[in-house]
Symmetry: C2
Subunit: 385 residues, 2 copies
């Protein structure tokens, strides 16, 4: 194990019906908030009504701002910052999935910054010094942003999808109410599972330290659970036990515990997936199942340590004993839950592949992965089957 | 899964050599601290010198108070409170194992209370409203107190060993430096492992909800690691990889994650073990391996659900397939690491057994376990083999 600092002060309020508490939780923090959301789906499933009622009852003034995109974009973030400044809101209440919360964080930091918000993301080294308090009501489990300091924004002009981490962007409180997931589609459930699993796999496979049994087993326990329950949820979307385990699993997958102590690690699958999303607006999870499908066999071939780690993964999750079987089981599972494993599944042809590889190569240095050149990435992408 | 609130704001600073940072971490919090420790062992292994030097360098004034007992006692706590008041310290720096940190928490709460500190423990319902900031340098891994709000104190007059939990007693920062464990004895290492494992097993076996795969696997991953590495550490006390995994495992075992979402649960093995310690000054971990040795077979006999959970435990940890094999493997492992499994191992005879059972029966209602009467506990204790 290697040294680390772990500090995760976000308070989690978990349970069926917990969204009713947003008012009483927000009131001691702010008298006026920006209520951020995505599409109108929260108006259809009752989440909007319940949370707005709760905030009003607690005498919290609400400035509504909807329309966050699935891969949240810079232009909408900038408009949100203008609105939040004009209305002098004191906190952000983000009601939605990872995209809404990520944009909420960007707005929280941008409102109090004396420069454009993209400067936090553009690799110039500008860090977040302060931000408005962030409260979240999670309605789609996937990214783990509800219990970490991460945020990912897409710049439509430069076609870059960039993520940053800051302790100042850690939500104060996040409400995890498994009943809000009942209306999440089969497709989004699959993508959420793949996203959470990939979060765990990044450090599991790229870690510097080779002896980290606590961290490995932590990851394996969560992955195995997601592998088991995701197809069950797709058959029965209101299975409250499975939805609850899914919700907590996705949060624990990316709250900083998994990589603590593994030493240096990186996120090549996210790097590759982000370029797919930036160019093709591919759902994040879908881009990751395609990426893993090509990256895993490449990874296992590199050296004996990698092979051993992949076999450990296979044994723990699929009870497989060879690299080939493990990868085939992984791809089969993706197909079972209907998450794509090849570029043609999302309509990308040969020229698209080259374009994606080029985009990855351009962003790779920002991710600390200069070896992921366009040429190298082409070879990975050709393995996605 | 059931609803829960999870909030653990303790900052963990983990790594070889991390104890040197105690000064810079303490300085922003307090200018004068009570430096609490146990026996003189920290003066022999260099921990005292390093931490005192670090505090002085950061210009933190230190009021030393040593002599905390292995099961920390009320009289010494009361004296510490008097000293802390007289010296007007602003924070507690607890340098030691669970006992030192637990007494540090009691002093932190007692200093600012307008009543005797035992009132927090005596079951009268008096809760901790405020406390001095608590910083810890952990030198023995076992109880998990470095990352939770728990504290256990023994009242020598009433022969009661009672634990309480409060968010106000959560350490601000805890330094976990695996090199401090190098001098922990074979015996104390065994007891620490048993303690950490028992923390996980309490909710694992007594949980209200029967479908909690995330929590089960989290516990199994940590237990399996401790089962594997404890004998290795006993052979090679300076195995830095194993000591580091041990240290982090014990912290994660009792930081609130394992029972989050399992619904109601209780801690019968701790109840029984505490009475053994209160009457015979048995090391905490030793009392728990004896208790589990008798409690596990009783538990498995009660109903099919219990049996299933014990078999799941056996499969995950020892790759066993029957109740008998699982319990025998558990006892064998205790013997391997030299933690006792029967009362005679600690010199308790028939009259001692009756006396312990009586003490348990008296304390049981405080633990929410009124069914643990003296008579019932005698039958459990007779099973310890």
């Amino acid at each position: 194990m290697q040294g680390f600092i772990y500090h995760n002060p976000t308070k989690i309020i978990f349970g069926n019906g917990a969204i009713e508490k947003i008012g009483e939780i927000t009131a001691p923090v702010a008298k006026k908030v920006l209520y951020l959301y995505g599409k109108n789906s929260i108006k259809e499933n009752g989440i909007y009504e319940t949370t707005i009622k709760s905030l009003r009852k607690a005498e919290v003034e609400v400035v509504e701002y909807g329309g966050v995109k699935a891969n949240p974009v810079l232009s909408h973030t900038r408009e949100g910052i203008k609105l939040a400044r004009r209305e002098k809101v004191e906190a952000i209440v983000a009601v939605g999935g990872g995209s809404v919360i990520d944009e909420g964080k960007a707005i929280a930091a941008g409102v109090v910054a004396d420069h454009d918000v993209w400067k936090f993301y553009d690799g110039s080294g500008t860090t977040v010094k302060t931000a408005l308090p962030i409260l979240t009501v999670l309605t789609m489990s996937a990214t783990g942003t509800e219990m970490n300091g991460g945020t990912v924004i897409t710049n439509e002009d430069t076609k870059q999808k960039i993520g940053i981490m800051s302790p100042r962007l850690q939500p104060l409180t996040s409400i995890l109410d498994p009943t809000t997931l009942y209306s999440v589609s089969t497709e989004q459930t699959a993508y959420g599972a793949v996203d959470a699993i990939t979060h765990l796999l990044e450090s599991y496979f790229t870690k510097e330290d080779t002896y980290t049994p606590i961290q490995d087993r932590y990851a394996e326990g969560i992955i195995k659970t997601l592998v088991e329950i995701t197809p069950k949820i797709q058959v029965c979307p209101t299975d409250c036990s499975c939805r609850a385990s899914f919700m907590w699993a996705a949060t624990l997958a990316w709250n900083g515990l998994a990589p603590s102590g593994v030493g240096a690690w990186n996120a090549p699958n996210h790097l590759i997936g982000h370029s797919m999303s930036a160019l093709y607006d591919t759902p994040h999870g879908a881009s990751l199942s395609i990426t893993l499908s090509g990256w895993l066999p490449w990874y296992a071939e590199q050296n004996e340590n990698n092979k051993k780690q992949l076999l450990q993964f296979g044994k723990a999750i699929f009870d497989t004993t060879t690299v080939e079987d493990t990868i085939e089981h992984f791809r089969d599972w993706c197909r079972l839950i209907k998450s794509p494993t090849k570029l043609s599944d999302i309509g990308v042809d040969e020229s698209g592949l080259v374009q994606i590889a080029k985009n990855i190569g351009e962003n790779a240095p920002l991710w600390g992965l200069p070896q992921y050149t366009a040429e190298f990435c082409e070879s990975i992408l050709r393995r996605c089957k």
